[in-house]
C-alpha cells in the first residue's frame, strides 16, 4: 500500500469511512458514490483497523485522531496531521499504510 493514499488533503484531513459491520457490497457502493461525486474512478480501497490511528499517534508522537464527520453516514476524518512538517506526515502515512490491506475493485 502506498503511503501517499493516507496523506491528508490541503485542509489537513484524510477522508475515511467507518466500515465495522457494514456488508462488503454496501462498502463498495458507498465508495463508488463518493468517487462519482468527485468525478473520479474507483480502483480500490484501503481497509485498516481504527485503533491503528491511536497506535500510530503513540509510535510517531504525532497527535492524529479520528473524528466523525457526517454526512455522509459513517464518514470520518483523520485529523491532527502536522501540516508544517512534511517528513512527519510521511512517517505517519507509512505507519497507517503498513496496517492497511488493499482490496481491489472487481
Amino acid at each position: 500500500m502506498k503511503p501517499a493514499v493516507f496523506l491528508p488533503a490541503p485542509n489537513g484531513e484524510t477522508s475515511v469511512l467507518r466500515i465495522d459491520g457494514v456488508p462488503d457490497n454496501l462498502i463498495w457502493q458507498t465508495a463508488e458514490t463518493m468517487a462519482n461525486e468527485r468525478n473520479q474512478t474507483l480502483y480500490a480501497r484501503a481497509d485498516f483497523p481504527a485503533e491503528t490511528v491511536n497506535a500510530t499517534a503513540e509510535a510517531t508522537k504525532v497527535k492524529v485522531s479520528v473524528v466523525i464527520a457526517e454526512p455522509p453516514p459513517r464518514h470520518a476524518n483523520i485529523i491532527g496531521w502536522p501540516m508544517d512538517d512534511k517528513d512527519k506526515r510521511l512517517l505517519v502515512a507509512m505507519q497507517l499504510a503498513n496496517a492497511a490491506s488493499l482490496a481491489l475493485k472487481e
Partner: protein, 164 residues
C-alpha cells in the same frame, strides 16, 4: 475503517554532480559526461529501470498537474516540481533500485522504496530546494528535511541504501 484509493559507498557508474568549473575545458568535460550518461540510459539492459521510472514520473505529472486532481482539493503538481523530480532521478546512483512514483495532495511528487512493511523509505519533492523524507528500518524510524540543489543529500542516499 477504510479510505478509497483513487549499501555500498559507490555512487554507481557515471554518477554526475554539478560542475563548478567555468573554463571552456570544464564545460566541454561536463557536456561529454552528460552525453555519456545519456548514452548509458539508452542501454536497454542497464538503463531501462531508470527510463521506466522517468516515464512513470511523466505520467504522474500529467495526471496531477491540475487543481483538485484527486477530488479532495489536492494542489496541482507544478512543472517545476516535475523537473525537480526528474533531476533527482537523474542524480540517483545507477546501483540503487528505482522508486515507485506517486503524486501527493500537497502538490509534491513522492518516491517510495518498499522492501517490506518494516523496511521502507519515502520522500516528497517539491519545486523548492528541499526534500522531506521518512524511513522505517525494523524498529528504527527516521525522518527529516534536506536541501537538494544538484546532489542528492547524504541522509537520503543513506536511507535508501539502508534498505538493500
Amino acid at each position: 475503517m477504510s479510505t478509497i484509493v483513487l549499501s555500498r559507498p559507490s555512487r554507481g557508474v557515471f554518477h554526475t554532480q554539478a560542475s563548478n568549473g567555468i573554463s571552456d575545458e570544464a564545460k566541454t568535460l561536463w557536456q561529454s559526461m552528460a552525453e555519456l550518461q545519456n548514452s548509458f540510459l539508452t542501454s536497454f539492459s542497464i538503463g531501462k529501470p531508470k527510463r521506466d521510472v522517468l516515464e512513470s514520473t511523466t505520467e504522474v505529472f500529467e495526471e496531477s498537474c491540475h487543481p483538485d486532481w484527486d477530488g479532495y482539493s489536492a494542489a496541482p503538481v507544478s512543472f517545476e516540481t516535475y523537473l525537480k523530480a526528474k533531476k533527482f532521478l537523474s542524480a540517483l546512483p545507477t546501483n540503487l533500485p528505482t522508486p515507485e512514483v506517486s503524486a501527493h495532495p500537497d502538490g509534491q511528487i513522492g518516491f517510495e522504496w518498499f522492501v517490506a512493511p518494516n523496511r521502507q523509505f519515502v520522500m516528497g519533492i517539491s519545486s523548492e530546494d528541499e526534500l522531506a523524507y521518512a524511513g522505517i528500518f525494523g524498529i528504527n524510524k527516521t525522518s527529516g528535511v534536506e536541501l537538494f540543489i544538484d546532489e542528492i543529500p547524504k541522509a537520503v542516499l543513506e536511507g535508501i541504501r539502508r534498505l538493500f
